[in-house]
Symmetry: C2
Subunit: 166 residues, 2 copies
DNA sequence: CGCAGGGTTCAATTATTTTTGAACAACAAT
DNA sequence: ATTGTTGTTCAAAAATAATTGAACCCTGCG
């Protein structure tokens, strides 16, 4: 049974495997399964799809689809596209995983790294309160070490992003 | 109130902040909060601690502490150490975050990448089943793209590990 | 031996995250 | 204005993941 625009109502064997591939992928990035499903179906589709297409193919709710698409758009992994000039919005996957991973780094990792660095700065300010000099030196060393490390992480992220840019 | 070996029963302001730093850190890696707490307390401690010390300081159960320590040992982020030669086992943090991150890459990322690559190989085998040549070419291109990408990811991981080796 | 920690395991509980679906907003067609 | 279609939001329900705590296994010691 086909929908009116000729798309099979349920996903094929190959599509199914691609979807499962991306489910694992996004789970690794700590995102919900539905996001992987959506991206997978879009990645496996030669033509753009609407939200309702996704709902039908995956058997998920409109709510999930809407939220998942929002997340993918924020990451830049999926984009709106003009298609049949009907009033539905069509989506397609950005085939460069750079976008998916890059968006993840930008939206999830960077902010955490930054807030971590702020915490470390704040911590340094507490150091003088420690009376015992040995203990103070100990903490100082450990905190400095974390600062050096997160500085390094900050450097490596853009490179990583560049390198993983298909 | 102090324990018999002079450790404060509850963690100090600085320790608390370090712990919170690591809670965020491990959450980013998708690990349970308790693992971050444990690593944080060990990282903030000038001397090795026993499992029971951790239970007392953090107010977590023996079960959590045991499981958290197991995870951290598997990652190589924490090591057993001889201390007072009593029969308790003492632990200390490996201060090089390389261990924590490296272990994470080794134990979590690599296996997923590999299983992903296996899935892609399997997918390629399905391609000949597609009759429509255009469609077959389409899938072929998309799958090849994923293969190139995960090959690249495989290359970059060891570099990442090296670079983040404090 | 029998007991007293120290440590692990795992089923049950609790906390967190994800998904659903119903209510609603926007807007085009009639 | 009314209706039908597309899409969002958010409280409630369902699914997952983390934590607890009791039962259990060691091992050293009297």
């Amino acid at each position: 049974m086909n929908t009116k625009d000729g798309l099979p109502a349920s996903i094929s064997a190959i599509d199914e495997r691609l979807v499962s591939f991306f489910i694992d992928g996004v789970r690794m990035l700590g995102m919900p399964k539905s996001v992987g499903e959506i991206f997978g179906v879009l990645y496996a589709s030669p033509k753009p799809l609407t939200m309702l297409d996704l709902v039908n193919r995956l058997g998920i709710s409109k709510g999930s689809a809407s939220q998942g698409l929002k997340m993918l758009r924020t990451l830049g992994a999926v984009r709106e596209v003009n298609y049949h000039d009907d009033r539905k919005t069509y989506f397609e996957a950005d085939v460069e995983l750079k976008k998916l991973v890059g968006g993840f780094i930008r939206e999830e990792i960077r902010p955490h790294l930054q807030s971590g660095q702020k915490k470390l700065k704040a911590l340094e300010k507490e150091l003088p309160k420690i009376n015992d000099p040995d203990l103070r030196e100990f903490y100082e060393e450990r905190i400095k070490r974390l600062e050096r490390w997160s500085g390094k992480a900050n450097l490596v992220l853009p490179l990583l992003q560049k390198f993983l840019g298909e």
